[in-house]
Each structure stands twice: as structure tokens, then as C-alpha cells.
């Protein structure tokens, strides 16, 4: 009986392990494929333009918004403690909303419900700034997105999407980011899993405070828009 239980546990463990196409130890940030100069630019806290948004976010943190006249600091006080690790947990299940939301969604939920302020538009300077500022306080921390319980269905939807081929080039996320991670299809080398949050010096030097996660969780702007355009598929909306 005990042997059966152990065998079952082993089988279950290996079954779970099989859902990971790339072992956790093999996951590599896309940045690790970049040249030394690119990594140096990314690492330079002054020259990295993303810090312009982080600084803006810091100001917004102290700025009253909405009819309640509250700032982020009114509730969350010191971001170094209150926001540490927060960005690493998103996308996450929002118990109240009953669905998985990303960090931008969480910020807007706070704005509407706590500050009685209007939502910030997706990809707007202010929302990018606040997201970058909050993500900055998770710098260096590993992603720890929960995919159990209420998030399971969304995770599985995302995972299925990750493996579906679409677009003119008939490519799925996995084709570049899993099967051939590290190779260069077009000029960019694909990350083996896309590690986020990061203030990437993206195309054209604009900030991309972008989100992604292994196996394609519900994403915000980057994966729905940029990647589908690259494989000539139709962009997904940020809210889907």
C-alpha cells in the first residue's frame, strides 16, 4: 500500500514536472542573450530610459488623485516595504473581481475603488510610470505567480494559447520561446520564457514595462500586440 502511494506520488510529481517544457533551471532571460553593450545599457540606472518612468511613478505615488483625494502613499505608505515582491506575484487572482488581473489592472482597481479616480488608460504614460515604479521594487526577485485554485482556468487558457499556431507565419509562442529559445528568427533572439517585469529598452527606445510569464498567462500589452504583429497574426486586445 505504502509502495503504491509512493509510486503514485512519484507519478504525480513527474506528471506535474512534464507540464514544464523547459526545466526551471534552464530558463533564461532574453537579456542574457543580448550583447555586452546592450546589457550594460540595461544595467545603467542612469542611462536606462526606463528610470524616467520610474521617477515619474515615484511622483505619482505622492500625488493625490480622485474625489477621495488620496495618494498611493495614503494607504501603502513606503513602497520599499509595501510594494516589495508585489509585481512578482502578478498576474494574480483578484478575489473580489473573481478573475485574474495583471498589475495594471490592480493599479486601476485601486484607483477606482479606493481613490475614486478614473482608470488610467492602457499604455498611458501614467500607468506605465506607476507600473514601472512598483515593478522596480521587485527588482531581482524571482517571479512567483500562483497558478493553482482560482487562477487555474486562466492559466490553462493561457497555456493553450501559448501552443496554438496562428497568423500568417503560423507560429505559436512556444515555437520561438520554447522550442528554439536562444535562436534568432528575426533580429531578436527569443527568450526561453520571457522574464518580466523589466524596463526593457524596447524597439525605438520606448519604455516597455511589459509583462509575460512562462506558459502565457493572461498578459498585458506586450505579448498580445507586439509578438502577434511579428508573426503576422492579429493583435489581441489588452483586456482579453
Amino acid at each position: 500500500m505504502r509502495v503504491a502511494a509512493v509510486l503514485l506520488a512519484c507519478w504525480a510529481a513527474s506528471a506535474v514536472a512534464q507540464t514544464r517544457a523547459i526545466p526551471a533551471t534552464d530558463l533564461r532571460s532574453g537579456l542574457s542573450f543580448g550583447s555586452a553593450e546592450l546589457r550594460a545599457m540595461q544595467a545603467d540606472d542612469f542611462a536606462n530610459p526606463g528610470m524616467l518612468w520610474v521617477e515619474r511613478g515615484e511622483k505619482l505615488w505622492q500625488t493625490p488623485a480622485g474625489t477621495a483625494g488620496r495618494t498611493c502613499a495614503s494607504c501603502h505608505v513606503d513602497p520599499a516595504t509595501s510594494m516589495k515582491g508585489v509585481a512578482a506575484r502578478y498576474p494574480a487572482l483578484d478575489a473580489k473581481a473573481g478573475r485574474v488581473i495583471d498589475l495594471e489592472g490592480r493599479i486601476n482597481a485601486c484607483r477606482t475603488s479606493r481613490q475614486q479616480a478614473p482608470s488610467l488608460a492602457a499604455e498611458s504614460e501614467d500607468l506605465l510610470a506607476l507600473t514601472a515604479f512598483i515593478a522596480y521594487h521587485s527588482r531581482g526577485l524571482p517571479l512567483s505567480v500562483a497558478i493553482g485554485e482560482g487562477a487555474r482556468t486562466t492559466f490553462e487558457q493561457g497555456r493553450d494559447l501559448y501552443y496554438v499556431r496562428h497568423g500568417q507565419m503560423n507560429l505559436s509562442c512556444a515555437d520561438c520561446h520554447e522550442r528554439t529559445g536562444g535562436a534568432a528568427y528575426s533580429p531578436r533572439r527569443s527568450a526561453k520564457a520571457i522574464p518580466m517585469p523589466t524596463r526593457r529598452i524596447a524597439s525605438n527606445g520606448r519604455l516597455s514595462a511589459r509583462w509575460g510569464a512562462e506558459y502565457g498567462h493572461a498578459c498585458s500589452a506586450f505579448a498580445p500586440r507586439c509578438c502577434p504583429t511579428m508573426i503576422r497574426g492579429s493583435p489581441r486586445s489588452s483586456s482579453s
Binding site: F46, P49, L52, R56, E125, A129
Partner: protein, 107 residues
């Protein structure tokens, strides 16, 4: 929008070469990008950037589409008297930006 970030050393000696760094939020729209509907986005770059040291221009940068978005500039000036560094820039749409930094010179 945090329009810029400036970095100068807190204190320098007279005659030293002072490293000045500035990072400016500006898309430096090249005029070659297209939006989602395929329309060309008009060019708009910072054309002239001036650094003044106690009112006197010490460094001028004439930029264009060949400079990356969110321009980063690093240059040196020679420390003379204590005072103020002022930075000004203007883009092709006529939008102006500015920043200030103080410079303490000892010796």
C-alpha cells in the same frame, strides 16, 4: 512626465573636468515610423540642446533622427566658479524642456 534626469558630482575642484549626464524623456520621433493604421507618424526630434554654466553656453548638441529616443548625453566641462548649470532643449514641435543642477566648486 519626469522630463529629464541630470547627474553632476556634488562637489568638484577648480580646474577639474566635471562629468555631466542628462537623460531626457522624448520619443525623438524619426518620421519613419507608422502607426497601427499604417499612417506615418510625423517627425519630431529635439533639435537643439544647450548647457549653460552660470549663464554661458558651454555645450551645444544639435540632434536629429539619428539619435535614439529618450536621448542620453554625457559630456565634460571644466570647473571654474560655483554656480548653476542650466539645460534647455527644444523640439521640432516647438516644445521646450529645461533642467537645472547646482555645481559646487572648491579650491
Amino acid at each position: 512626465m519626469a522630463a529629464s534626469r541630470v547627474q553632476v558630482p556634488a562637489e568638484v575642484r577648480r580646474g577639474d573636468s566635471v562629468e555631466v549626464k542628462i537623460s531626457i524623456r522624448h520619443p525623438m520621433e524619426s518620421g519613419f515610423r507608422v502607426d497601427d493604421s499604417g499612417r506615418r507618424i510625423a517627425r519630431n526630434t529635439i533639435r537643439e540642446f544647450t548647457c549653460r554654466y552660470n549663464g554661458k553656453p558651454v555645450f551645444v548638441a544639435r540632434l536629429g533622427s539619428g539619435i535614439a529616443a529618450n536621448p542620453y548625453l554625457r559630456f565634460f566641462l571644466t570647473a571654474a566658479e560655483s554656480g548653476q548649470l542650466s539645460f534647455e532643449w527644444v523640439d521640432e514641435a516647438g516644445e521646450r524642456g529645461d533642467a537645472l543642477a547646482s555645481l559646487t566648486v572648491v579650491g
